[in-house]
């Protein structure tokens, strides 16, 4: 079923895009990640121009995180104050991201930078996740419990001036730390079309030392608002948001997400994390190969 995308200026098979959204949604439901890190590369691989892919993938992440935020709000597992600071940083970061995007585009290095960022981020996060979850699995087999890491924020965070109380997170720290964290993920959201949950969650736990019960809800809260802001910034600046493409992705992903949530309830969390770590590593590996192997297209055209 061919469908013409009015902004991307090409026709795609609608069922393929819905299916792609479905797979990403399934993963996001199973693992509680937005899935943007898969959508953008897959769309580019399918032939969608990179800018359109990143701009439209952001709204898919919005759709994937909405119902999660509602659920967490109802349970009271969102630190709204912390979330607000993160969102503020995220919006500023998205603004910086636009400038970076333009600069890199003018230099002709945007594709390479995006690929390198993916390899470095996914490679390191995937590696950490794999290490940790395999250790957990081994500990479960041998029956010896791992010594829990003492929850404490990073010394650098403690050195920052000004301190706010974040009751839900159980923290008394400088708001600059989450602001900077939000800013960094905002830049990534703008450049890569990812929600940034896969960086946000570990950073909240290991850098800020937030209570684990509010980490996922607060990260979803931040992702929801930052992807909204990113979609708007893309619409206003790059004008690369393709509503038809976004709609197709959304149809697939919201359905997939619900199925994924059901599957995740039946599986052990440790196993889920090993699988997610492997998927992340495979994507990183594929992107790394793309950098090192002779690419299919040596030439690219940019219209002025």
């Amino acid at each position: 079923m061919d469908l013409y995308l009015p902004i991307a200026n090409l026709s795609v098979n609608a069922l393929v895009i819905i299916g792609l959204g479905g797979v990403v949604g399934l993963l996001s439901g199973m693992f509680g990640v937005g899935g943007g890190f898969l959508t953008t590369p897959l769309l580019i691989f399918y032939g969608i121009p990179p800018t359109v892919a990143a701009a439209s993938a952001a709204s898919q992440v919005t759709g994937a995180s909405v119902s999660g935020v509602f659920t967490h709000m109802a349970r009271g597992t969102v630190d709204v104050r912390m979330g607000g600071v993160l969102v503020g940083g995220g919006v500023v970061g998205a603004g910086i991201g636009v400038l970076l995007f333009r600069l890199l585009q003018a230099l002709g290095q945007i594709d390479t930078v995006i690929a390198i960022l993916y390899v470095v981020l996914l490679g390191s996060i995937g590696g950490l996740m794999a290490k940790e979850s395999i250790e957990t699995l081994i500990a479960a087999r041998t029956g010896r419990a791992r010594t829990a890491r003492k929850r404490r924020h990073h010394p650098l965070v403690a050195a920052l001036p000004m301190r706010w109380r974040f009751y839900r997170s159980g923290l008394y720290i400088s708001p600059l730390a989450p602001l900077l964290l939000g800013m960094m993920t905002g830049i990534l959201t703008m450049l890569l079309g990812v929600g940034g949950g896969f960086i946000m969650v570990p950073a909240m736990i290991y850098l800020l030392g937030m209570g684990t019960q509010v980490v996922v809800g607060t990260s979803l809260f931040q992702i929801l608002f930052v992807t909204m802001a990113t979609t708007m910034i893309h619409a206003m600046t790059t004008k690369a948001v393709d509503l038809v493409l976004a709609l197709l992705l959304l149809v697939g992903s919201v359905i997939g997400a619900q199925v994924g949530t059901r599957i995740s309830m039946k599986m052990r969390p440790e196993n889920l994390r090993v699988i997610l770590a492997l998927i992340v590593l495979v994507v990183a590996f594929r992107m790394a190969l793309g950098l090192g192997w002779r690419p299919d297209e040596i030439y690219s055209v940019q219209v002025q």
């Binding site: 061919d2 469908l3 013409y4 009015p6 902004i7 200026n9 090409l10 026709s11 709204s59 898919q60 919005t62 759709g63 994937a64 995180s65 909405v66 119902s67 999660g68 509602f70 659920t71 002709g108 290095q109 594709d111 390479t112 390198i116 909204m228 979609t231 708007m232 893309h234 619409a235 206003m236 004008k239 948001v241 509503l243 038809v244 976004a246 709609l247 959304l250 149809v251 919201v254 359905i255 997400a257 619900q258 949530t261 950098l291 090192g292 192997w293 002779r294 690419p295 297209e297 040596i298 030439y299 690219s300 055209v301 940019q302 219209v303 002025q304």
Partner: protein, 253 residues
């Protein structure tokens, strides 16, 4: 400049050939191509008649070349090279007038019809396009970029060469089919027809074609460029509504 040149094409051919020369009466199957939701490319039929002054086709058959061209673009081309183990864009060249679409069909292979110089003057053939380089690259480099562009757009179906695809019936009626890829951009297109005899272009004629988005597709493209805030809001609301709806439906199941 190009436009003027195109308008003057018949005049250029005229004085070279004298008064009693043949004329072309060309037409195309569609003067307007509309891009709709199901657009996955189209095929244009370029056809017409050769009118000889004495009403008879000459004994030695003439050749027909048709060229369909899309709007010209100012482009930057980049070339990837391996630097420190990874492939990055290392060289670039700018061209002021690269056709976004170029398709050519001829009744025989083009090198059998005209010599190189004539082909270059009339831009007959992918290697004869006048891209007007705007950057200071060496000639060899420019040729490499031009070949790269031709190869890239050829694979996207944007540059097409179909030698031998023009059919001439009884020496007076001709027709050729040219494919329009789904990746064509909107804008004014021109269909040029050349009548070639003994390696000389003896008659030329142009027909204009408009490719535009229609209905919903046009509306979306306009909305994205003219009301970006409203467009962005629609995207956000759509995403939220769908995510929320799916969540609440799933909870009831």
């Amino acid at each position: 400049m190009k436009r003027l040149f195109r308008a003057l094409l018949p005049l250029l051919a005229w004085p070279l050939t004298g008064a009693a020369e043949p004329m072309l009466v060309p037409d195309v199957s569609q003067r307007e191509v509309e891009i709709r939701y199901s657009f996955s490319g189209a095929e244009l039929l370029l056809f017409g008649a050769i009118v000889y002054p004495d009403g008879r086709a000459p004994d030695k058959p003439a050749d027909i070349v048709v060229v369909l061209k899309g709007p010209e673009q100012s482009i930057t081309m980049r070339e990837k090279q391996k630097v420190a183990g990874i492939w990055v864009n290392a060289a670039s060249a700018r061209f002021r007038s690269a056709p976004s679409y170029y398709a050519m069909a001829s009744s025989r292979p083009i090198d059998a019809i005209v010599d190189d110089r004539t082909a270059a003057i009339y831009e007959l053939g992918l290697d004869k396009l006048q891209l007007s380089p705007a950057s200071l690259n060496a000639n060899a480099e420019l040729e490499r970029f031009q070949a790269g562009l031709a190869d890239l757009r050829h694979r996207y179906g944007l540059f097409v060469e179909r030698p031998g695809a023009v059919e001439i019936t009884d020496g007076v009626l001709y027709q050729a089919r040219l494919p329009l890829s789904a990746r064509v951009i909107v804008g004014p297109y021109t269909a040029e027809t050349f009548l070639v005899q003994d390696g000389r272009v003896v008659a030329a004629a142009v027909r204009d074609i408009t490719i535009r988005k229609s209905g919903f597709e046009q509306f979306m493209a306009d909305a994205a460029s003219d009301w970006p805030f409203a467009y962005g809001m629609v995207a956000i609301i759509m995403a939220c509504a769908m995510g929320w709806a799916a969540g609440s439906i799933a909870r009831r199941l």
